[in-house]
């Protein structure tokens, strides 16, 4: 499953680095790419191994709130 989120509270490029680190903590993340410039996070994940709620919680633990982008 591929989801694109809007990320609030990204204030520098290092935020992208921290967010992409989620793939090290959670199983089932196939691909993850964060962009400070566009304030967004793209995640391709295996729903049998990890849920969207877990991804959002992991981001929140790092201090970022994810909002699902519509369209």
């Amino acid at each position: 499953m591929k989801q694109v989120y809007y990320v609030s509270d990204m204030h520098c490029p290092a935020c992208s680095m921290l967010l992409e680190g989620i793939e090290d903590d959670l199983p089932g993340i196939r691909c993850i790419a964060a962009s400070y410039h566009r304030q967004r996070l793209e995640v391709d994940f295996d729903t049998t191994q990890v849920s969207e709620a877990q991804i959002m919680a992991a981001a929140e633990a790092l201090g970022y709130r994810l909002t699902l982008r519509q369209g």
Binding site: H11, C12, P13, M17, E20, G21, D25, Y36, H37, Q39
Partner: protein, 345 residues
Amino acid sequence: MVDLIAAFVTGLTAGGLSCLAVQGGLLTGSLTPATSKPARKSARRHRRSASVTARPILLFLMSKLVAYAVLGILLGALGSMLQLTPTLRALLMLAIGIFMVGNGLRMLNAHPIFRYFTFEPPRFVTRYLRRKAKDGVTAITPLFLGALTVLIPCGVTQVMMALAIGTGNPIQAAGLMVAFTLGSSVVFFAVAYLASQLGTATVHGFNYLAAVVLIVLGVVSVNQGLNLMSVPLTIAQPRGVAGSEVRPTPVAAPGEANLLTIAALPFGYEPEQLHARADVPTQVTFVSDRLYSCSRALIVPEWNIQTILPETGTFSFSLPPQAPGKVLNYSCSMGMYTGQIIFSP
């Protein structure tokens, strides 16, 4: 020596805050292993000691220092090969100024467009660093990230880099960059260490302060660039009755050559504005006396004169007869100190 002290003080003041704002993210990255899951567990078990956070910060800064020393050598070598013309230098100052203002506005979240004033490290680099941290090679991360700061120099650092190129000497340029980086490292360490101990609220506060400092320095840089281009409407340019101190000087008698003497002082040129007779030859002499300031680096853009005045001594050049109304601008190589000669009938 004075240049090194000035570079150190610049680093200690504006440079430290500016660098922290632009490169602080990489330092945060280098601290990431200390806040990752295993480290958090370890910290809970052992209680985080001061050295836990001080060590990666110190490694980061040491690596940064070495990287900038190497960069200084390269820039000095580049400067020795490439003589910057006043116009090129002015464009460089303008670009640096715009970049600084843009970064300041980015930090203030003025508009999303300003996010593009900073660079995101390539993904393969960040992934490599994370993997290294996960493998337990924690010392490498801050060392590598410290060296990587070379790729995202802050605005003030870029000014120093331009100055380093301007020295045209690898050793001098390296000394300048090291002095500046040492100064900024003091602030970097103090703020980063305090932030890791007291929380991110401190960093946010300093971010705003650094943003304002960046914008002010950016405007100064743009102003200096405009000075170097002899654009009349700049802050530092003497504008006759518009406020700056103007001392009219006696003009030559009809038919006689103008003999103008200008004192190069630590904080500018005296007088700032000279009047001379048009249509006769002119000899301009700059006099310096135990002068160690950047006003020694004299530029007269229109005549492509670029020279370093002696610490004590004189430097003269001659001008052919000038048309009435002609204004000849000169400045130091950074455009900080300016002056002009006005030719009238």
